[in-house]
Every structure is written in structure tokens, then in C-alpha cells.
Assembly symmetry: C2
Homo-oligomer: 570 residues x 2
Amino acid sequence: MSPSEDGLPTDYEIAQDVDTDHITEIVEPLGLAADDLELHGDDTAKLTYDAIERLRESDRDDGDVILVTGMTPTPMGEGKTVTTVGLSQAFNQLGENALAAIREPSLGPVFGVKGGAAGGGYSQVLPMEEINLHFTGDLHALTSAHNLISTMLDNHIKQGNELDIAVNRVQWPRAMDMNDRVLRETVVGLGGEVTGVPREDGFILTAASEMMAVLCLADDLADLKERVGRIIVAYDEDGDPVTADDIEATGAVTILLKDALKPNIVQTVEGTPAFVHGGPFANIAHGTNSLIADDAARKLSDYLITEAGFGSDLGAEKFMDVVCRLGDMEPAAVTVVASIRALKYHGKDMWPADLDALDDPDPEAVEGGLENLDAHVENLRGFGVPVVVALNRFPGDTDEEVDVVLDHCREELGIEAAESTVFEEGGVGGTDLAEKLVTAIETNDETFDYLYEADAPIPEKIETIATEIYGAESVSFQSGARDDIERMNDLGFDDVPIVISKTFHSLSDDAEKKGVPTGWELEIQEIYPSAGAGFLVALTSDVLTLPGLPSDPAAADMDIDPDGTVSGLF
Amino acid sequence: MSPSEDGLPTDYEIAQDVDTDHITEIVEPLGLAADDLELHGDDTAKLTYDAIERLRESDRDDGDVILVTGMTPTPMGEGKTVTTVGLSQAFNQLGENALAAIREPSLGPVFGVKGGAAGGGYSQVLPMEEINLHFTGDLHALTSAHNLISTMLDNHIKQGNELDIAVNRVQWPRAMDMNDRVLRETVVGLGGEVTGVPREDGFILTAASEMMAVLCLADDLADLKERVGRIIVAYDEDGDPVTADDIEATGAVTILLKDALKPNIVQTVEGTPAFVHGGPFANIAHGTNSLIADDAARKLSDYLITEAGFGSDLGAEKFMDVVCRLGDMEPAAVTVVASIRALKYHGKDMWPADLDALDDPDPEAVEGGLENLDAHVENLRGFGVPVVVALNRFPGDTDEEVDVVLDHCREELGIEAAESTVFEEGGVGGTDLAEKLVTAIETNDETFDYLYEADAPIPEKIETIATEIYGAESVSFQSGARDDIERMNDLGFDDVPIVISKTFHSLSDDAEKKGVPTGWELEIQEIYPSAGAGFLVALTSDVLTLPGLPSDPAAADMDIDPDGTVSGLF
């Protein structure tokens, strides 16, 4: 969330004002001792492998998983992380034992658009500065691990290319945790024979790397190493896959990730423990924090509040069909974050977004945008999970606008909805939502199920997601994608879940279309295996794996005083 | 140092065997409290800015600085870091209060040639695994800070190029902490208008970035910010410099470095506190750990043992002429590390190095190599500092070979020399060296002075270093370098020290020439300002700013067990 413009203290001011407890004290009520932690300063720790193993082996029941997702957001986001953090605080206000689990921010966006990714207002995780910058170095470790593969791959080619790698069929780009658009398409290896073999290459954002997905899905070091070894980095001249193992990168890459796999624990402004670990984007990857953090957190709490990126079409669908399937987990309930701003954005069918034009009260526009919310609610109900709408109320929202939404949910959708004011009020602003979620869980008589069977044919899986979740009328496959499907079948990747890479600006694959676009066709351009992660990625158009900075990047307004006080970051 | 092949435990085994004390206990005898530290696990901490400030303001005398440098090394290195760490332990064995200050390893070399950069044997700093991998993330922060400038620069060009930056006169490459040779020469910005403006670009190793030099020379956050702002990133179409400040990167870059500037404290295997902070290479940058670590360490100890990269021609010359000048510091004594292996390498005039061929006893070859050691000793005496030779004794060295060196130093050079067996024995193996250094300091009647005046003309400064230190007969300037000198004069960079970038394989600029090459001409190809660091860099041929991996990289033999035990790293 951004700094406040309405007299509230900024996120940074709120964070500075909190007198945090030492992280060992924060986790002590969970049954974790100082020995279970590796400290990074006073406020941050990594959970040791021994502690994770002990928790896994304990016979304590897993806590209920509550997933926080959203409607199709404006470019500013609708406060999903705020709601996740606030809701964990709200449960604790009610005397329940709850934890939050969210993703680690990527540095790329931090320097682009103003606003951190550690929640906001009175629902943020601390130390927010560190979390938004280098934190415990996990993203840097991932970048290094990713690029070590690239380095060893090109070194193999240069040193004689014993594996007969086809230089125009390298699948493994380079990675950087920076929104550096000129690296999207490059030529490397120029400068003559000593510099290696020239070829086209490109960089992706670290959050979009398969390495991030691998980290977020690995059980432990042994599983991580297996997954790393399976990664397909290229094809040889015969068309056979070349893996990270083939180029002898497995061990060294896993060594680089040995600490990054340990979940990070911090605290919210109200002292609720929170896991912040792993950060794949939901438009180009699976979009939720690490399974290893979820595993530990479920054993430590009665309610685990976790977040999936963007709308139900992206993060939530992947959470259900990929993460829950691979991690043997299921959500007890889902809350869909809506905002008056986003509803008006859809009601006005606005593109590009003009956020200022959404400030004025406009109940009719809100009404007009409800169809987008409805579609997300229906998407989620399809998984057999109870749904409660969380209306993240902003200061300028009118009662009339709010009532439009709450009444609609209860009367038209037949589900509960609650205002959330956790940004301004912290946990107490979310107790109504928490109570409604508890009721929804307790009265639920449906059974969770995946959207598709993993062993369905690849085109069928994609068509199911496209038509049932995105609302597409049909799916077309470009000729390259058809070849890809054939190759995936040949390679035995026909029985794994699918991660569709799609814009987050619309339920459809066209960022300009608001509301619930109908009568459109989803075009699949390319399909490739994330063999280490254990899913296939289907690329549509219009998704950047390496964003750029805007004309007036947030970085240009950042500053730091001699005493270390930063400004412009939040 | 590498794993032992002679029955000694490996570095890793020795490290695992040490029962380290908590870092707060290690620094307590120095007068540092837990509040002065930011913990990174139990064994590593960063010193807070408050503690640094308090130390600076204290009226305690600065400890004596002992610089460890070396003769022209074999590609394996002659044990300079081992000697530095061992010597600090030796002083403490003698009841003196000593600290070590060394550089942080770069990930690049770690994956190339087997062997860590945290000392070795019974003279290493711990936790050696972490120090050789991500450590406290300083190198990663530097990489991000470096690349944020690149990103903002290309974004500025793409977003209208208000500053009129000449795309073929961008001075700021990209950086990576990985020996990824295909990134040396690239083309970026391909893919059409949305991706920015295509141009030639290249990556350098993070350790070679001006950002590293800036960090290692900055006094505090305010000074760091000033230095960052001054960095020249490009020239505009009129030929005027464009700085990091001009592209509005100063604040955000400094924010990324706000923790990296805090010195890291660890312990040696004998519990001697050690600073490990900053890591510029001495062949392409100034080659010593951070001044801020030296400043703090001098206030905390009676003897600070610090290390300069490669031979006296590279790290030590830069330490004297650049670091001491900019940091207002002077060395009390210097020890030159020699090895029987390196002496034979020069005596046999061997190129490329065949390390196996240096195993057999050969006193004559040792004798033949002494001229190289002599040249380094003379180089250092020229600065008016007492010199003691440290013969780093390896297990296979014979007494006869060792005596050749010790006798020569005493009889021919008139200086003291001591065997050092700190690798095998720890501190007790260096007490003779330590005692001789104390005597040398106490009986010294010379006065330290720089080699050249900072305000001498640029060609004269370069010629002085080339002829008096490298032993060149003359210096030639390529036409581009002549233009550079003119521009540097115009820009007012005529009164700063010089960092010559030169191969470390020879005293000359030709890696193949061993011993003391004579009758050669140093060719300067390019001169550019490191305006943030405060010196000029003069490039000669044959220096790689981004090394590559060998045909059988160390990374390929690395592994990690499910319990986290790593192998192949050391």
C-alpha cells in the first residue's frame, strides 16, 4: 500500500512507531524456542530444518487454511496482503491462534511503483524496510542459483559442448531481481572465440524463474536437490532434454539455496507471528508463498491465513490446482478481497486505469462492477470451498457504496460479506470478517475438489481453466504450442498440473477488458515444462517476464538521511 | 586454500570441528556489547553505526596497522589470507590484542577453482561456508545497487532521454557476482521500441564495480551517498559527464547499501575476532577490505592485521597510495608472504603454471626465484615501512629450501624473515613472525610516504608506478588513453590517485613473464574516472573484469547431503 494522503500516518511512520518484541518472544507462545531459530537481527529469524522436521512429525492437527484472494484488481492492488495480515491479527484479537503466511517482495517492483509489499497501515509485517529490500537474502540466493545454471550451461557449450546442446534451443534464460527491460532480449557471447559461443538470450525477473517455483514447492533439502536436478535447461541436437543434472549444476545450485529454503518468521504491527517466504508472481508462476512455510505454519496455528497473488483466475486457481495438489493441502475457506475502487474501475469499464477518476462516490459504477466480483466468487465456489467477501474499505468510500456490495453478496450471491478496516484499525477492523469465516468453515458441507484431473489431456486441462475460470469461449493453440504439446506428451509431462501465464488486468487475456469479458478466445503461444517444479507453463500473450520501470520510477523519489531514515520507499 | 591431500583434515573438517563461541562473547573483551551488534545467526554480526561512531569519537589510540602482501603468486595463491588470519591469532597467543581484517569472497571464483577465500587449515575465519557463499549479503546488495543504476540509466534513455545521454558513451556496465564470461560483451535493448534503445553493453564482476570501491572507501552513510551521487555513468552528446545524481539514482542506490556498509565481524578458529568486509579485486580495483572496518578495528585493537590482494605491485601499492591516502592511515609494518612453491615457479620461469611440477625439492629453483621476492621487498621499503618476509611453509618444503630464503633475506636484504606454519598449527605457527614484526615496528626509524604526489600530472603518476613498482622501462599511451587524459584534466580529475589495472601473474603486464621482467613497456589502453571512489583507473591489456569458469569448474564437484553437509566447496 502507498503512503497515506488523508492525514493518516504513512506506513513507514506506523512501522517506526511500533515497539517490536524480540522475535524469540514472538514465537515462544507457538512452542518455538530460541534454538529453533536462526536470527537475522532482532526482528527476523529463519526456522531451522530441525524445527520444521519436529513440527512435521508432531501429531498436532493441522490448522485450517484460509486463502485470501481478490477480484480483478486495479494496477494499485486492492489490499490483499493488508487483508491477509489484518485477518491474522483479527483472529488473535478474538483469542484464536492464527498465523499469516505471505510472499517475499521482489526488488523489481519496489523501484517501479511506489508502495511496499509487506501490507500497510496497521496491518503490515515488520521490519517492513528490510522485508521490502534485501530481507534475509532469499531472492538474491535464487538469482545466484538461477544464474549459476546459465553460467555452467554456456561454459559447457564453450568447453566443447560434449552434451551436444543446441545453442538455439536453450530453455534457461538468465535472471535478475530488477525491472530492467532492456535485458528482455539480448545477444550474449560476443567478442570472439575466448568469450564463448554467441547466442540470443534474455533475462527474466527472479520471481518468474522456475527456481522460485522449485523453492516454493520443495519439502526439504533432499527434495529441493531432486527438483533442481530435474530442471530442463536446454534440448540437444536430437531434441532430447538436457537437465541441470546433466550439466553437473545440481549440487552447487542446491548449496546456494540451502538457507533460502528455511522459512522466514517476522511479526505484524500487533505482534502476530507471520511467515514471509518465497515470492513467485501469480501471472507468470504459481503465485503463493512456500509450501514449507505453510507446512510449518499449519502445525503452529489453528488458522493459517495465506495469500495468493492477483485475482481468483490467477493465484487462487493455481493455489487450488497446483499448490494444494502438489502439497497435499486444502483450504478450509476463501475470502475474496473487493474494493469500491476496483468495482468502480470495472463498472466504468476503464482502460487504462485512471485512479483519480475513481475517487468520487458513484454507487452506480459500483453496482456495474459487481459482475466481476461475482465471477470470482463463482470461480472459487466451484472448488467446493466456502467463500466470504472482504470489502477492504478505504477512507473515502461511502456507506451507500459499501451497502451496495454487502447487500448484493448476501441477497444475490447468498454468501457472507464483511467490511474490513484493518488498514486503518489493525486487527479489530477485521474481526467481523474473521467471525464470518469461522462460521463459514463450521457450517460448510461441501467438499474441496480440484478443477481438473492431473492426467487429463493437456489441451483439455487448459480449456477447462480457460472456459470455467477465465470465461473464455474457446482456446486456440498456435502451431508452436501444438508442437510443444506433442513434445510434452512424448516426454511424459502429460499428467501434471498447468500454470497458465496470463495478464492480471482482466479475467480475459486482454488487459483492456474489464468486468466479465465474454465471447473471446484464449490463445496459447507456447507450452514448456517446469520439470523441477512439477507443472507445465502455458504462455498467453501480453505477459512480461521482465517488467520495466515507469517514466517516473519510485526509485527517483527515494532518499536516505545520514541517520538511516529512508523516504520515498513507502 | 584447498582441501589437504596429505592426511591433514580438510578446511571444512577443521571448521566443523571448532566449537565456536557466540559472537557477542567473542567481541565482549574488545569492549563491544550485544547492543553494538546486529546478529546474523550466532557466529556473525554487523557492527552498528552507533558503535562505529562511538569508536571514532573515543580518544583511544589507533592500533598499529600491519599489512600482509605477497610476492607474485602462482595461480593458487601463496596463503596471504591464511597468514593474515594466522598472524592475528599469533599476536593473541603472545598476549597481545590483535584483530584481522580481510575481504569478503566473491561468488564468482568460488564456483571456478576449488578453494575458499576465508583462510584455511587452522588459520581460517568462521563460519567459512557462509562467508564463502552469501554471507551477510553485502555482495548481493552491491550487485543490486550497481544494476539499479544501469536500469535507471537505460530507462532514462528509453523514456525520452532528457539528459541527451549518448548511447554509445555509456560508461556504466551491468554487474554480476558470477564468472559468466558470455556476459562480457552483449547487446541489450533488442526486441523493438517497447524494450528500449538497443546498445552494446557488458557485465563486470561485482568485485570489479566502482560500487565496491565506493563502499570500501566510504566513511559513513552520508559519505556513501555523496560518493554514489558523484559516479559518472555516461557522457552526453556534448561530452559532459552524466552522474548517478543526474539520473536520480543516488537515494535508492544508497538505500540498497545501507546495511552493506556496516562491517561484518566473525571469529577465527582460535576465537580471534575478525572483520570481513568489502572485497574489491586488486588487479582491477584497489584490492583491500573496507576503510570503515579498518577504522573500527584500529580502535578496538593494538595490532590490526590487514591484507591487500595479490603482490606488492597490485594490492599493496594501492593500499599505500590510494587507501592510506584517502583514509588518512599508514601502515606500521608490512609482511610479504613468500612460498617455496612460488619461488620455484619464478626460478623455473614457468608459464603456464604446472603446480605438480613444483612439488619436488629444488633449492636451486628457489634461489632462482628470489629476485621476484627481492623486487617486492624493495617496492615496499620504498614506502618507508619496515618489511618482514613471511615464508608460508607447506608440508613438502625442505629445510634446505627454507634456509635458502631465510638466509637470503637476512644476509642479502638485511631484513628479518620468519617461517610461518599457521595453516597447520594455527597461531602458534606464527609467533616468530609476530615477534619479528613487533621488533621491526619498535626499531623503525623511517617515515612512511606515498610513492607519488596526488597532484602530479596523470602521465607522471602512471610512469612512477610503472617504472618504480612494476619495473617497466617506459610507458606508452594508446591514442584513446591520451584523449582520456585530456578529458580527465578538463574534468578536474588531475589531482587524484591512480589505480592501474594489471595482470597479477607477473610484475610486468605480460602474464607469461616470471621473475623480474626488464626492458619492457607498459601500454595504457584507457583511463577513466572512478569519481565516486575518488581515483582514476588506468587499464592495461590482459585484465578480465569478468572471468570465466574453467573446463572442469569446481561447481561441478560440489554436493550437499540431505542433512546440509556440503562437499567440494573447500
